[in-house]
């Protein structure tokens, strides 16, 4: 097969559907020379892509297998070099305005991490949802930025006494956005502060424990309780505890250490 050049491609959509307020998905590329479409997964190299005819792509679109941008965009420059050889995996990021507004991230950033991104509306979707294509690395950073901004918003809203339902929604958005493990751990902790503990135990067993195998329910619940008490005073996001190590033996001391560190910093606050 002739080496695929990014110059011959346009990004016409992304795989799957935007089921939630923000996320990322593999781009759907269209080859300009013959109209064929493929899910742009470069993990095995461009030669291993499976191309589908226009008709097949249309049928897959009709069945909701992928989502079309109202107007195509170029393959991001950060993903290719020279005559269009791919050097990085492109990724599509999508976001709903309500989430971005909550995160205080409107207007959508045109140049995150110095990378130019063109935001497009989605076909058959409300115009409040838009998507852009960037390098996988930049997209992940952007999602984490939104996740961190949402936790900051949570802090502020908690301090002014917003109701649990509203806070739960912000924490849920943060979990939807955050990809970085530390950030996700923090988002789960925030979520736990406004979740009934019996429900949280269920969530812990089905989701948190799988994501953080070294975590322990009792420690997690204690940490959430501590966090709740702490949020009442101040919300220093940067000093929030990170997730336990994936090594089970080291998890407990770490969590205890974090709890201790938190108590110490609380003491400092009170001392002031």
């Amino acid at each position: 097969m002739k080496e695929l050049s990014a110059i011959d491609l346009e990004i016409v959509g992304f795989n799957g559907a935007p089921l939630v307020e923000c996320g990322r998905a593999l781009p759907i590329a269209r080859r300009k020379s013959d109209g064929t479409h493929a899910v742009l997964d470069l993990s095995d190299g461009v030669a291993r892509l499976n191309w589908h005819s226009e008709g097949e792509a249309a049928a897959l679109l009709a069945n909701g297998r992928w989502t079309k941008l109202e107007k195509s965009v170029f393959v991001p420059q950060s993903c290719c070099e020279g005559a269009g050889q791919f050097v990085n995996q492109p990724m599509v990021i999508y976001a709903d305005e309500s989430m971005l507004d909550t995160a205080d991230r409107l207007p959508r950033p045109p140049m995150p991490s110095g990378e130019y991104m063109i935001w497009r509306r989605l076909q058959s979707h409300p115009e409040t949802v838009q998507a852009a294509c960037g390098s996988a690395e930049t997209v992940e950073k952007l999602l984490d930025d939104w996740g961190a901004a949402l936790l900051k918003r949570f802090d502020a809203m908690y301090r002014i006494g917003r109701d649990d339902e509203y806070l739960k929604r912000i924490a849920d958005f943060a979990l939807c956005a955050a990809r970085n493990k530390d950030l996700r751990w923090r988002a789960y902790s925030y979520f736990a502060t406004v979740r009934e503990s019996v429900r949280m135990r269920d969530t812990f067993a089905t989701f948190i424990q799988r994501e953080f195998p070294a975590a322990n329910l009792e420690d997690f619940m204690n940490m959430a309780a501590d966090l709740k008490a702490w949020l009442g005073h101040v919300a220093p996001l940067a000093s929030q505890p990170g997730p336990p190590s994936s090594e089970p033996s080291s998890a407990l001391p770490k969590v205890r250490g974090m709890a201790r560190a938190r108590r110490d910093s609380e003491d400092e606050l009170f001392a002031k």
Partner: protein, 281 residues
Amino acid sequence: MPVFTNLDERIERPPFDGDAYRSRLPAAQTAAALIHLVHVTAAPHDPTKWSAFVSILTNPPHEIPTSVDAAYCSDPTRTAEDLLGYARSVYFYAGRAHPSFGNFALAFDSNCQQGRTGSATPFDTGGFVCQPTPHIKVRLLPNDDLSQRVAYCNSSNLTLAEWRDVFARILAAYFDELSEYWTGSPAPHDPEGLYELNDAWRCWAFEVRLYEPQPIHDRVAWCADESVMHELFRLHRTEPITPGASRPVNKFLNDVPALEPTGTPFFCKAAENWVREQLGI
């Protein structure tokens, strides 16, 4: 002449290598006997369609429908089935996640075809007969028209009882290493050029069709993208937790946990890697 026709005779003559074939065959037979069937699906953006999947998840009999379900399968699928004389089917690929358009992939073990009706073909039939221009190339005589293509498909058709044996022989004959079924391509030695004129793996991935709906709880592995996992997180936390209450989402998430707990855009790759790990390939 399908890729497996007279293979036992052809394998003894160049360009094949009979000795190499025989040395590869036992491992290929083991892999073929165990290889999982993978089904890729979507959770469409249309709320009614997503609800349709939630309905599969939350209401008995919890089955992936056959292509008779207009919301689940496209018209071209039914057109191809009518052309080829196949019953309405649930589509799987042997060890491969195809087409990779969608949100999640489910893997079923080899027992899932026991007691079922269905058929198999050593390539993606949809791409072979799609109109106006078939996507998969071959050299057919006297000409490459639709009737010739239908005839080629029909002669490539295998029963559920025989496809794993044929799959093993094709793996041993056309692939230097079993892993090349995923990472490489077959040797271009078939008469019609199916393996010579195409470089996409849909041309050599075995398509398996089951003619009855497939229970989702029979899956042995699954992987979804991040949006599906977050949506399941939301569904899970609204399920009643009172003793004795039905909790289908909880059952789905806990009976067979997802391969990637937070989901991944590379869910197809994750499902295929899991299959290879299980087979030791």
